[in-house]
């Protein structure tokens, strides 16, 4: 079994949004919607400011409330890598999954179904990196299998201090931010 995860190095990320643009074109995300986005988290008082810039998206949680709450099983955990996906043709657009996600990672596609980051499973299945990872000009994003101890993501998590987002929500997010 594979357990896909993303590791993002906030020390390198410049918040350029290339990951957002690349996702937009690769996945034809309609105008006005984002599957991924940039959060800037600045603390302090000028000129002593600390700033973390993060590229955020669905965390493909290991304990995904969005899947549990779905009345039609449209939201599901994909066989490969534990990726959380939505079957468009099964979704009724009840939005329970939108409300259940602590990261607000989902939205309703103009065509009516719940949509969000897919970890670019269509690329991953072909052995490619997700579009956002592949485009990042600072090479600060890594995608891989946490069940493989030899993978770069596993190693990075061992070597570097990191954090995930809102762990207290208990969803066991699978995107890690190196600090």
């Amino acid at each position: 079994m594979a357990r896909f995860a993303m590791v993002i190095d906030t020390v390198k990320c410049v918040g350029c949004m290339d990951c957002v643009v690349a996702c937009k074109t690769e996945n034809k995300v309609p105008e006005g919607f984002n599957r991924d986005w940039i959060t800037t988290d600045a603390k302090g008082k000028f000129p002593t400011v600390q700033m973390e810039i993060r590229s955020e998206r669905c965390n493909h949680c290991d304990n995904p409330p969005c899947v549990y709450c779905c009345p039609t099983k449209a939201s599901h955990v994909h066989d490969l890598g534990g990726v959380v996906l939505v079957h468009h043709h099964m979704c009724i657009g009840c939005k329970a999954c939108l409300a259940s996600c602590p990261y607000d990672a989902r939205f309703i596609h103009p065509d009516g179904y719940a949509d969000k980051c897919t970890f670019c499973i269509h690329r991953v299945e072909k052995g490619l990196d997700p579009a956002c990872v592949a485009v990042c000009p600072t090479h600060c994003m890594y995608f891989g299998d946490l069940d493989d101890v030899e993978s770069q993501v596993s190693k990075l998590l061992l070597e570097r201090k990191n954090h995930a987002l809102i762990p207290e929500a208990g969803t066991r997010p699978e995107i890690y931010y190196l600090i």
């Binding site: 949004m17 957002v20 006005g32 919607f33 984002n34 986005w37 940039i38 959060t39 800037t40 988290d41 600045a42 603390k43 302090g44 008082k45 955020e56 409330p65 549990y68 709450c69 779905c70 009345p71 039609t72 099983k73 449209a74 043709h89 099964m90 979704c91 009724i92 657009g93 009840c94 939005k95 329970a96 939108l98 409300a99 259940s100 996600c101 602590p102 607000d104 989902r106 939205f107 309703i108 065509d111 009516g112 179904y113 987002l165 809102i166 207290e168 929500a169 208990g170």
Partner: protein
């Protein structure tokens, strides 16, 4: 000083989550109301007092049948992918309250239909005499009335609780993340249902009994509300902040004025005077109770979506 900014701008999500507008609060309100009605009528059926309490036993279930249909319509209107609604009934998702709800709503119809059969109104039975003969048969077995009553109570409790669980299962929203929410909605459902009866019942005795019951429910509702907040306030920071949304945040004015004062305290006071024959009984207070119950759903749904784990809201 924390400056949190996001580039995300998704409809219904940013800057504040607002996936559910009026449809879901209406649906939850109606669900609670119907649940209250079922429990009440179930109770009187079980006690076999359909004759004295005609309204609650025979008129209310009919109303409930209509209302629940409206509720389902509201739910349907909220769906963004309407043509796929049948997908609800191709599966049963054990962990999804929504799925439970969908099936539960289906079960309500036969339950309520049987009550309907117990006393088919004349203008219907003259048209479809067959209904009349079914009705006769049902009534000839005493136990059936009792069982119908019990089933109604049970279904009512499940339905009423479900409207709360639907929200409280969505752990991402700290305000909803309380087991007391389902009790709150249940009690509020009872109070609004009782209010409905004592508003429309023709018999004075029935009115007064239900008004007394309503007072009890309103009083309980106050207690449950207090418990609800005590629970949140004694929890984590995000829960405290979410409680504050209602207590002294952006929703406080509406909450205190429309839910607590005009929706519970004032009607309680008025009805108390009325049942003690200090003033005459008017529809004013039950209407206030019903509106209060409605606003309670709106406010909980809206503030719940506002409440968030990330705590600080983005500056955009």
């Amino acid at each position: 000083m924390i400056e949190l900014t996001t580039t995300r701008h998704n409809e219904l999500i940013d800057p504040i989550v607002h996936v559910w507008g009026w449809e879901i609060p209406i649906y939850l309100f109606i669900g609670g109301w119907v649940a209250g009605m079922m429990i009440l009528s179930g109770y009187f059926f079980m006690k076999g007092r359909g004759k004295e309490y005609h309204c609650v036993c025979y008129r209310i279930p009919l109303l409930a049948l209509g209302l629940i249909t409206l509720g389902m319509l509201a739910l349907f209107l909220d769906l963004e992918h309407k043509f796929y609604v049948w997908r609800l009934y191709t599966t049963f998702a054990v962990k999804s309250p929504m799925s439970w709800g969908a099936w539960l709503l289906l079960l309500l119809y036969p339950t309520l239909f049987i009550i309907f059969l117990l006393q088919v109104p004349d203008w219907i039975s003259t048209r479809w005499p067959i209904l009349h003969s079914w009705s006769q048969k049902l009534r000839s077995v005493k136990a059936i009335t009792k069982i119908v009553g019990m089933v109604n109570i049970v279904m009512g409790i499940i339905l009423g609780t479900y409207t709360g669980i639907l929200l409280s299962a969505l752990g991402a929203r700290p305000l909803w993340n309380s087991a007391i929410l389902c009790i709150l909605f249940l009690v509020s459902g009872l109070s609004t249902a009782a209010a409905m009866v004592h508003m429309i019942a023709k018999e004075r005795a029935e009115r007064e009994l239900l008004a007394r019951a309503d007072n009890l429910f309103l009083f309980m509702e106050l207690l449950v509300l207090a418990l609800f907040f005590i629970g949140l306030l004694s929890s984590t920071n995000v829960q405290i902040q979410s409680a504050m949304l209602l207590l002294n945040g952006p929703y406080a004015a509406v909450f205190w004025v429309f839910v607590v004062l005009l929706g519970i305290v004032v009607p309680l006071f008025i009805q108390n005077l009325a049942v003690n024959h200090k003033i005459i009984h008017t529809p004013v207070s039950p209407i206030m109770v019903i509106i209060g119950g409605l606003i309670l759903r709106f406010i909980i749904v809206s503030a719940g979506q506002f409440s968030h784990y990330a705590n600080a809201h983005f500056i955009r």
